[in-house]
């Protein structure tokens, strides 16, 4: 385990950004968000960023290829794959878990080469939660915020940041900043862990009953009377999906630039009326169906195909951001069982 004093944390960022691009949470008028580190950029310390770290590996829009059109000839141009190494610093345990889930989608056959490329160039540095919000419920999905994943895990107490590499890439990263890091005892962060655990125990959303969300119960859940009521107020906007660290749907579009065609993909939301529209029309015509799709996917379909792993990490963003305050916790409670 390594350590560095918080008052000299800038030297760590400098060291990390010397060889690669560093992104870290920065305060904005609307809460913390990831920004590129440059001289003078200050780490917010807040981990509950508006947008999740997903954006670095699966950006909102991504160019896939270009077609150059000249007269009647068309030429295909492969895009230049970003080959820049980068570090995302300050990822929470829940957000770090989301990559395990995204990997299951993008890295299984057929492999999504765009995502894979970014994953290969990115290093994730997690930080143990120090100030969980009331909206946090990661523990319900077996996530231990005091033992965050990622390539490097960090813990911070009043004056020190402790760092522990989890992977080879993590080791290499710490090695690159070895100059500014000091050695620390492997148990140095135990105090922090205990404090955080104590707070976690007081969180209001605990022990969600997820027992109903099984493959066997699929049809019962699908046919539940509750969906209508739950989705009644849904505006059909994409806020929940776009702030969600595990949502991974995208649409592929062609953009006519005037001198060619740019084929790009961009996030799509199952809440949108145009989602998965195909030649015959739209498979889910009403908001009830679209709403149901999102939660059935997260709570039933995804686990059914992925060894029971739910496609939710309990980060709480949708709880905080939904314009009408409808969210997965309310859905789980309505369909799955009560909070004990």
């Amino acid at each position: 385990m390594k350590q560095i004093k918080l008052d000299s944390i800038q030297s760590l960022f400098k060291a990390l950004s010397a060889t690669r691009t560093l992104y870290l949470p920065v305060d904005t008028p609307a809460g913390a968000d990831f920004k590129k580190y440059e001289d003078g950029v200050l780490w917010s310390g807040a981990l509950n960023t508006n947008r999740s770290a997903k954006d670095f590996f699966f950006p909102q829009t991504e160019n896939m290829m270009d077609f150059k059109v000249e007269g009647k000839t068309i030429e295909i141009i492969e895009p230049i794959r970003p080959d820049e190494d980068f570090v995302v610093f300050g990822v929470r345990a829940c957000d770090a878990r989301s990559f395990e889930l995204l990997d299951k989608v993008f890295l299984c056959d057929p492999v999504d080469t765009y995502y894979k490329n970014r994953r290969e160039h990115g290093v994730i540095v997690t930080v143990c939660c120090n100030k969980p919000a009331e909206t946090c419920f990661c523990t319900n999905f077996g996530i231990d915020p005091t033992a965050p994943g990622g390539d490097v895990a960090c813990w911070q107490d009043a004056d020190t940041l402790y760092l522990q590499a989890n992977t080879e890439a993590g080791e290499a990263l710490l090695q690159s900043a070895a100059d500014v890091l000091a050695e620390a005892d492997d148990s140095a962060a135990d105090g922090v862990k205990e404090t955080v655990k104590a707070i976690m125990a007081k969180l209001p959303i605990q022990n969600l009953d997820l027992s109903a969300f099984t493959e066997d119960n699929l049809l019962n859940l699908f046919g539940s009377e509750q969906w209508k009521k739950l989705s009644e107020a849904c505006l059909g906007c994409g806020t929940c999906t776009f702030v969600c660290p595990t949502c991974q749907c995208y649409d592929i579009k062609d953009f006519d630039t005037g001198h060619g065609i740019q084929r790009f993909r961009c996030w799509d939301s199952c809440m949108y009326s145009e989602f998965t529209r195909c030649a015959h029309g739209n498979p889910r015509l009403s908001q009830v169906e679209r709403f149901r799709q999102r939660f059935m996917h997260k709570l039933v379909y995804f686990p059914a195909n992925n060894n029971g792993d739910f496609s939710c990490v309990g980060c709480g963003r949708c709880l905080a951001k939904c314009p009408i305050s409808m969210n997965i916790v309310k859905v789980i409670k309505a369909l799955g069982g009560a909070n004990e």
Binding site: F255, T257, G258, H259, Q262
Partner: protein, 147 residues
Amino acid sequence: MQVEKKEFKPTIVAFCCNWCSYAGADLSGTNRLNYPANVKIIRVPCSCRVNPMFVLRAFQRGADGVIICGCHPGDCHYTTGNYYARRRMTLLFSMLDFLGIERDRTRLEWVSAAEGAKFAKTMNEFVEAVTKLGENKRLEDLRCKKQ
């Protein structure tokens, strides 16, 4: 080796109503009144046909200035079209200004079928003003830029 500095020639889109301004543009041609070739005219039935969407679209696709020409107030072929155009464009231009887009990139001018000279003069002035501003950077879509 001396690098020759390329003279900036703005792309200008002019929406002209069929009844007055388009005819005014024709007249300036008939009278051989010059204006820069960067002005390209799109014929619309009336200035009220011009959707703010078209103006933005032009900027997106690489226009450096957009001008809308219609019949003088009171002379609209459709009696009231240009009055609506006037309100719509006033508000649109004001909004673009509010976003920090240069004011001189947009303009609305009334040109009658008899005002060939005014048409040419207006275009000359407009091209000059836009040339002075240089390339449209604030409302550009990089994807559409010529490589």
